[in-house]
């Protein structure tokens, strides 16, 4: 089964890039984990402006995992998903009456269609992810049967800053842990252990 993990957002816009930061952290962990793994990607981005695209062979059990980052949803995101069986999206979300910055929601596409909450699943210059996936299916592309979205509630997406707010930064390891569980990867070590 081919799995794509994609972090969405803008890493220089305070909390907006929480998904991208989670992708960086995840790639770093996968690069260091003691499976049958090998990777050819940049597991440790050296600067904010680096783009992440890392591939990991997680052994015969769950096969290939690709970790990448992207900035917008819609058709571009749908096109990224072509050829994968499963996709895990990590993104920021702003809900008016949410549970507070840093809370994490696990959503399905049905949730997204009903609530439409994440920051990057739609774009002014593109269509929504739901519409894009429906279009892709109409056009006969191989698109994932399973799409899971980890959305982190954020508080500041208007100020340029490389650092997320404290509550949102604290959510990043939690998102990574949740995604690792989703990937059924257990033999890793968190940096602070």
């Amino acid at each position: 089964m081919k799995t794509l993990v994609v972090g969405l957002g803008n890493p220089i816009l305070t909390d907006d890039g929480v998904g991208v930061r989670a992708a960086w952290a995840l790639a770093q962990l996968l690069a260091g984990h003691n499976g049958n793994g090998s990777h050819n990607g940049r597991a440790e981005p050296t600067a904010v402006m680096e783009g992440l695209h890392a591939e990991f062979d997680n052994g015969p059990a769950s096969a290939a995992i690709t970790v990448t980052e992207a900035s917008v949803g819609g058709l571009r995101l749908m096109e990224l998903m072509i050829g994968y069986d499963r996709v895990i999206i990590m993104d920021a979300m702003m809900v008016n009456k949410g549970l507070g910055a840093g809370s994490i929601h696990r959503l399905t596409l049905d949730d997204l269609a009903a609530m439409s909450p994440t920051q990057h699943s739609a774009s002014a210059h593109d269509t929504t992810l739901i519409t894009a996936l429906a279009s892709g299916q109409q056009l006969g592309f191989h698109l994932p049967e399973e799409v899971v979205i980890y959305a982190v509630e954020v508080e500041n997406v208007l100020d340029f800053n490389e650092e997320p707010t404290t509550a949102v930064a604290a959510a990043i390891p939690e998102v990574v842990t949740a995604v690792l569980a989703e990937l059924q990867i257990t033999n890793y070590r968190l940096p602070n252990e």
Partner: protein, 499 residues
């Protein structure tokens, strides 16, 4: 409930990035008094940049926006050319322009098929849930959808190949480009350019079949509600032909006469920004004319920078097929030639057609450049020797003239950063278009229907406004909420969908 002094808010705008909001104020009679667009702007970009090395700007600024990173990358790279006092070789210029044409082919394609086109293909009164690319596929056929996706895919491939990265390119250097093109790549790009031309011709035919063959749509395009007489801005080459990558900024008046033509580095002498108490947006206007408010005419410094305005500002297009459609565009829309050039088309909805004419030009220009003997010149990385001071660079972003302006110390560390992004140019004309459409459609006793609200949205959607430079916040399904408030700000009624 009295209709008097109501305030109508459309929030957020469908298919428009950012928490853009339209506010419509009604007077005592229940007619439209004023209308404008509200866009939350990002903060602190200059502070973010100051203290960083200027050569990082092509990679920082393309992070501002997920929609047109290529345009920011190119404007920033050109600003570095001037900053470091190094004139790119003609091979470098051609390679950059080739890359940029691939970007135009993807960007204009998405706007027509996913954003602007659905209003015509499905009609302005179709339910919002159908007015999207999926609806277009249902109406026109799966093959069209495949062509759109293929066009995007092959041009993103070129962007990645020439720009070094898929989404946020990295190839721009002061006076250069980090990577030359191989001969094999050239052959591939030439083939892609030919496919782009075919696709552009197909799209223009589709526009003719769907819009021009339908009298109802033609009447809509030509209606007064979607017409404004303003100044028009666009970049032109030495023959006054449109150019997306380089040239002089030309502004023509509502009568089509050239008002001014200047190098981008001179922009501060020609463009000023107006601050209005009711909006935190700054409205750029022509200094040489002056600010008279959000009004039409030669006395008002309001200008527009869009595909329509670029065609209006140019004398013609430099490629043969696109020039033929340029002629057809003006003759069909009733323009007369005055002193050898067409008088401007003022119908804002014609911008969608102009965008497709530009798509064809970009495709043809891409073919020309891919066949240029210099395009595979390996010498594209010059050595920088001059001390940096100040640099200004500009390109035509798909949604308007984009200008970057940097100042540095002698080590090249940024001390000042200013930008006028594409959409910003159009803040004033967008506000005028929204007001006029609202005035024509909301009158005392008019029931607000979703189709009616969408018609108002059509008034600004043709500008292809991109709020990505402003904000990324957006709920995915684009809920549409209309709030009607009385003069005291109390909410008296709320209409919504998807909320």
């Amino acid at each position: 409930m009295s209709a008097a002094n109501k305030r109508i808010t459309i929030d957020p705008i469908t298919r428009l990035e950012g928490h853009g909001k339209i506010e419509i104020f009604l007077n005592d009679e229940g007619d439209v008094q004023n209308a404008y667009i509200q866009i939350p702007e990002l903060r602190g970009f200059e502070q973010f940049c100051v203290g960083r090395p200027a050569e990082e700007m092509p990679r920082i600024t393309n992070r501002i926006c997920g929609v047109c990173p290529e345009a920011h990358h190119m404007a920033a790279t050109k600003a570095l050319d001037m900053l470091y006092g190094i004139e790119p070789s003609s091979a470098v210029k051609k390679l950059r322009e080739l890359f940029y044409m691939a970007f135009y082919c993807t960007d204009h394609t998405v706007h027509f098929y996913a954003l602007g086109g659905p209003d015509f293909v499905l009609g302005p009164n179709a339910p919002a849930a159908e007015r999207n690319i999926l609806g277009v596929i249902h109406k026109v056929g799966v093959e069209v959808g495949k062509l759109v996706i293929d066009t995007r895919r092959r041009n993103h491939h070129v962007i990645q190949m020439l720009g070094g990265r898929g989404v946020h390119p990295v190839a721009g250097l002061p006076g250069g480009w980090s990577r030359a093109m191989t001969k094999d790549e050239r052959v591939e790009v030439e083939g892609i350019a030919r496919q782009n031309i075919e696709f552009a011709l197909f799209s223009l035919k589709l526009f003719e079949d769907v819009v021009l063959a339908n009298q109802e749509y033609v009447d809509l395009v030509l209606s007064d509600a979607f017409t404004h007489q303003t100044y028009y801005m666009g970049t032109v080459d030495s023959s006054n032909h449109l150019n997306f990558y380089d040239g002089l900024i030309r502004v023509v008046g509502p009568d089509g006469k050239e008002f001014v033509k200047y190098p981008a580095s001179d922009y501060m002498n020609h463009i000023a920004e107006r601050v209005e108490p009711w909006s935190y947006l700054k409205f750029p206007y022509l200094k040489g004319v002056g600010w008279k408010g959000l009004v039409d005419g030669p006395e008002s410094g309001v200008y527009c920078a869009t595909p329509l305005s670029r065609l209006n500002a140019a004398d013609g297009l430099a490629t043969p097929e696109a020039q033929a459609f340029f002629d057809k565009f003006y003759t069909t829309l009733g323009s007369q030639k005055v002193n050898g050039r067409y008088s401007p088309v003022h119908h804002r909805l014609a911008t969608h057609w102009a965008r497709l004419v530009e798509l064809l030009y970009a495709a043809e220009r891409m073919l020309e450049l891919s066949q240029d003997p210099e395009i595979t010149d390996p010498n594209v990385r010059p050595i920088v020797t001059n001390k940096p001071t100040e640099g200004i660079g500009s390109v035509e972003a798909p949604r308007g003239t984009l200008t970057h302006h940097y100042q540095t110390d002698e080590r090249g560390i940024l001390t000042k950063v200013n930008m006028i992004v594409g959409t910003t140019n159009n803040y004033a004309p967008i506000a005028m278009s929204v007001k006029k459409a609202a005035q024509g459609l909301i009158k005392k006793g008019t029931v607000i229907t979703e189709g009616l609200l969408n018609t108002i949205e059509m008034a600004f959607r043709n500008y292809d406004p991109c709020m990505s430079c402003a904000t990324h916040s957006l709920p995915g399904q684009m809920p549409l909420e209309v709030r009607i408030r009385d003069a005291d700000g109390n909410e008296v009624e709320r209409l919504s969908q998807y909320v």
